[in-house]
Amino acid sequence: MSHEHSIIQWVKDAKENMAAADEMIRAYMPFIRKETAKFLKRPLVEENDDELSIAMIAFYEAILDYSVLRGSFLHFAALHIKSRLIDHTRKESRHRGVVSIDHPANDGEDTPLRDQLADPDDPLHEGMMRDATRMEIEEFSASIRAFGIQLSDVADHCPKQERTLEACRIALAYAKENPQIMDEFLRTKRLPLALIASGSGVERKTLERHRKYMVALLLAYTNGFEIIRGHLKCALLTGGNEK
């Protein structure tokens, strides 16, 4: 009984803290492996089985979705893992015969198939681009950390609905075009929400809820992160109307 209580407490902590979630997933890896092997009806032969990564994310989803009304956590997590793996298998069966270009090539190495394909572009250039992207992302992560934000936080506070995303875009477009706001933002490392809300007409509550997301995107668009900006659709900071 007390064991179940300690799991529930752990789940509660993990819901709010990604580090705790990661720790819990590490601790329950034998359980996740067992459930995956049970579904596959074979032992997991290697650590990087794709199904294992799906099962791990399913365990994380179970942490996020769990409430005590759902009974035992481990039972709930097992059900979630199974459902997720069924979902994945169905999806894969629809694409049977079509190999993903992200799939590792059967050359005894972990290089994706994409790297093996004959590409009109220079493969050397491709590799250099990936390195440059990685370096830019590391720089970007360091920049948002200076604002007290982690990339995981940004993902947690990213707008889910299209309407909210659109409102954030309008607010960001307004902030980007207003030098006073940008100066204050970079100087104080705080987003002047009152100014943005009054100028863009977006509700302050919406901006507060997605503050971390807005900081990340505003930084991406202002501090010369060319690769990240190039990946995003251009309409992002033009209010969405020109999309």
Binding site: E61, F76, S83, S100, S152, L165
Partner: protein
């Protein structure tokens, strides 16, 4: 839709899609900076957890048993034996139950419960007092008792050997 891998963790990865959404996804051996096309996103599933039929049936049975238990509890609250409920009068108001009346009479007569054969147990009213009239036979002796149905006081009794 293209996604850039922004961050990799043990159990998940953070991706950025072309619409500017940061998303958590399964870390399928990704590397930071990699572009991916078919991620397994957190929360992107379309099934709902439905308990299996066995669990639904189990819950319904459990609920019915609970209702039955509550009903029995209310029905026999204050009663010492549910088996002696043939006469509804014994369980109403603050009268003694038939069983309690029998026990008082047997204790007074010094007879064991299983040695007695009750011929009649009647609830009656005499001079405005509700009484139990009990007739029973034990060890070749016939007993007649009259008890106050409220207090259990023995109002009258007699015993005589059976010829």
């Amino acid at each position: 839709m293209k996604y850039i891998v922004m961050e990799c963790h043990f159990s998940y990865a953070v991706l950025l899609d072309e619409d500017g959404k940061f998303l958590k996804a399964a870390n399928r051996s990704y590397q930071v900076g990699q572009t991916v096309y078919d991620p397994v996103l957190v929360g992107d599933y379309h099934y709902r957890h439905r308990p299996p039929a066995v669990r639904i049936v189990g819950r319904v049975i459990g609920l019915l048993l609970l209702i039955l238990a509550v009903f029995l509890c209310i029905r026999y609250c204050g009663s010492d034996t549910p088996s002696d409920s043939s006469n509804p009068a014994v369980t109403t108001g603050d009268l003694l139950t038939e069983y309690r009346a029998k026990c008082i009479a047997l204790a007074h007569a010094g007879i064991a419960e299983d040695a007695a054969i009750f011929e009649s147990v009647e609830l009656d009213e005499e001079d405005g007092v509700t009484v139990y009239e009990l007739d029973f036979i034990a060890n070749g002796v016939e007993y007649e008792y009259e008890l106050d149905a409220h207090t259990g006081a023995i109002l009258q009794y007699k015993s005589e050997p059976i010829d």
